[in-house]
Amino acid sequence: MIGNLPFVVCMILVALGLWTLVAKRNLIKLVIGVGLIQNGVNLFLVALGYVRGGIPPIYTLAPAGAPMVLPTPQALTLTSIVIGVATTALMLAFAVVIYRHKGTLDARKVRELRG
């Protein structure tokens, strides 16, 4: 349990994001909730590759003999961070246009499409 506390923290972040999506009514806060889940998953990914006492996997002027952390999770995290940025930007653009049309960001009032 205490051994992989970082993973637990990441999952708590994800759960908080889910709760935000369910409970908050402001569209911008919903975008923030998605961002919370993204950050939780990214932290989870990058924490998976950590080796105790490891150094970055870069040979430029690297101290000899130290173990290197796994490079793959860092690459995956970079990819997913950029994807998260793209998603957030697109959702914020949609929120801007919705506000321009409806004059509100309340999810309970943005329900023209129902039934």
Partner: protein
């Protein structure tokens, strides 16, 4: 060309999408030719790959490897990203290429120039590339990346009509749920990586032992992908998205949903094929039944033609889930009737693509002519647009599974297969079909029958030719179903049914 066909089918539309804004700066006519040529090229490539795979079995392409097709020695470790194309992937690629050939010419005249035609074509090419990549990739994280490519490109297209207040709303909801599905998929991939330190689908499939972490990852995979394929009660984004996107782009959204469904089958049959229990199959079957019934009933009360057709399209997803779910339930015993249902479900993907595609093309034509999709205002278009009326009737009959059209050919396989598992499944499926028939008869009568209404603009050939292609496909698939079942569907269904070890052997050797 031969060995590089799988990657060309993905990379060329990517490059084309990047270059489309530059080409549009030179000339708009050149841009139209450019886009259409790339769609044609993709169709040729996927056809080539499909012929190759159906003839010689699973094709592997190692990105950046010393040779394109290097299968690892037994016990070796997959280092690089591999494209792994088996029968099902090739079948999915065929559907994508076919609908690209239908959708892109239709969009040439459908999207007016002053509404951002260039950007919409850019996103369409990226979406097509993402769909083909999703179908061909054999690497879990690469699968996630293409999932996000399709999500973002699709949502950009859904929000295309930014001057209406409905389109951005639909796009926001869809984008939120798409982001959720992608993130949970990524979490599942992270769990598998943390447990096995690998990302290759075949390698992981050989590693999986059904431990607790494997099942956590399976649950995350299922939740994410079921959200992406619009299975009830997670289907709420689908009617909004299909209904609000421009009709020419809705075809690509339909293929996007289907390729997500393919991803679900890939995860369940290939990745977890060794450790799956029947509960997951029953879940898929139950959600499939719920999807077809809920969507069909909701279609009854619709006031908007596009939204009505969208609900019809959602209900078809339920049939695929039912057909393949029967195979999932009985995966342990592998009886013959389950293979029949599986074939029906896979065959229904192709039929659904053609049928729903033609329906949305008709919706687009009606909207292009009358400028509205409100069923309260439409009517009497049958005199002015007889061909559109004929196509709409044909497609709606095929959607409702009326013989001798293609929808019946696949649905009877699903019915006969699922009947032996439990007659209740078949009863519910038939009931949903009857509901759909009633709904579409109402829509047809309301839109096309009645006193004559003058329509001013004449339909251009760029509208009629894709419709004719789809209609011919519907009729031919209905009249000679056995041929296509034998040539195209059976390899795909077999790849899911018994092809798991072939898939693994093609990648890992041994």
């Amino acid at each position: 060309m031969g060995t590089h066909a799988p990657i060309l089918a993905i990379a060329v539309p990517l490059l084309g999408g990047f270059a489309t804004p530059l080409v549009a700066r030179i000339s708009r006519v050149l841009r139209d030719f450019w886009v259409f040529a790339i769609a044609l090229f993709v169709a040729v490539c996927v056809g080539f790959v499909a012929a190759q795979v159906f003839a010689h079995g699973v094709t592997v392409y190692v990105l950046g490897g010393r040779t394109p097709q290097e299968t690892l020695a037994p016990g070796a470790f997959p280092i690089r990203i591999m494209l792994t194309v088996d029968g099902m992937s090739a079948f999915m690629g065929l559907i994508a290429g076919l609908l690209a050939l239908v959708a892109f010419p239709f969009a040439l005249r459908f999207i007016p120039e002053e509404e951002g035609k260039t950007l919409s074509f850019t996103l369409s090419l990226l979406l097509l590339a993402g769909i083909v990549g999703l179908a061909y990739t054999g690497d879990l994280f690469n699968f996630f990346v293409f999932l996000e490519v399709t999500s973002i490109a699709a949502c950009g297209l859904i929000g295309f009509r930014t001057w209406t207040s409905r389109a951005p709303e639909a796009a926001f909801k869809t984008m939120l749920l798409y982001a959720l599905s992608g993130l949970f998929f990524l979490m599942a991939v992270a769990f598998l990586y943390g447990e096995y330190g690998a990302l290759n689908l075949a390698f992981l499939s050989r590693q999986l032992r059904g431990s607790a972490l494997d099942r956590v990852a399976l649950a995350l995979f299922l939740s994410g992908l079921l959200l992406k394929v619009a299975a009830a009660p997670l289907h709420f984004w689908a009617p909004d998205a299909y209904g609000e996107a421009p009709a020419a782009k809705t075809l690509l959204l339909v293929v996007n949903t289907q390729v997500s469904l393919y991803g679900l089958w890939r995860i369940l049959f290939t990745l977890y094929g060794g450790v799956l229990d029947a509960g997951v199959g029953w879940l898929v079957v139950a959600m499939g039944l719920l999807t077809m019934v809920v969507a069909a009933v909701m279609a009854v009360g619709q006031q908007d033609l596009g939204r009505l057709v969208a609900y019809g399209a959602v209900s078809q997803i339920g049939y695929m889930m039912l057909g393949v779910g029967v195979g999932l339930v009985t995966l342990a015993g592998r009886p013959d009737y389950a293979l029949v249902a599986l074939k029906g479900g896979v065959f229904h993907m192709l039929n659904d693509a053609l049928t729903v595609g033609l329906l949305f093309l008709c919706v687009g034509a009606v909207e292009w002519v009358r400028g509205t999709r409100d069923l309260g205002e439409l009517g009497g278009l049958g005199h002015g647009l007889p061909e559109v009326a004929l196509f709409f009737l044909l497609a709606s009959l095929a959607l409702a599974g009326i013989p001798p059209l293609n929808g019946f050919a696949s649905k009877i396989l699903i019915y006969h297969g699922s009947f032996q598992l439990s007659p209740i499944l078949t009863a519910v499926a038939v009931l949903a079909s009857i509901l759909l028939l009633a709904v579409f008869a109402r829509a047809f009568q309301g839109v096309f029958l009645g006193p004559r209404v003058e329509v001013k603009p004449e339909l251009p050939w760029s509208f009629l030719i894709p419709m004719i292609v789809s209609a011919v496909g519907i009729v031919v698939l209905g009249l000679v179903p056995g041929f296509f079942l034998e040539q195209v569907v059976t390899p795909a269904a077999e790849a899911l049914w018994r092809g798991r070890h072939l898939y693994l052997a093609a990648v890992l050797g041994g």
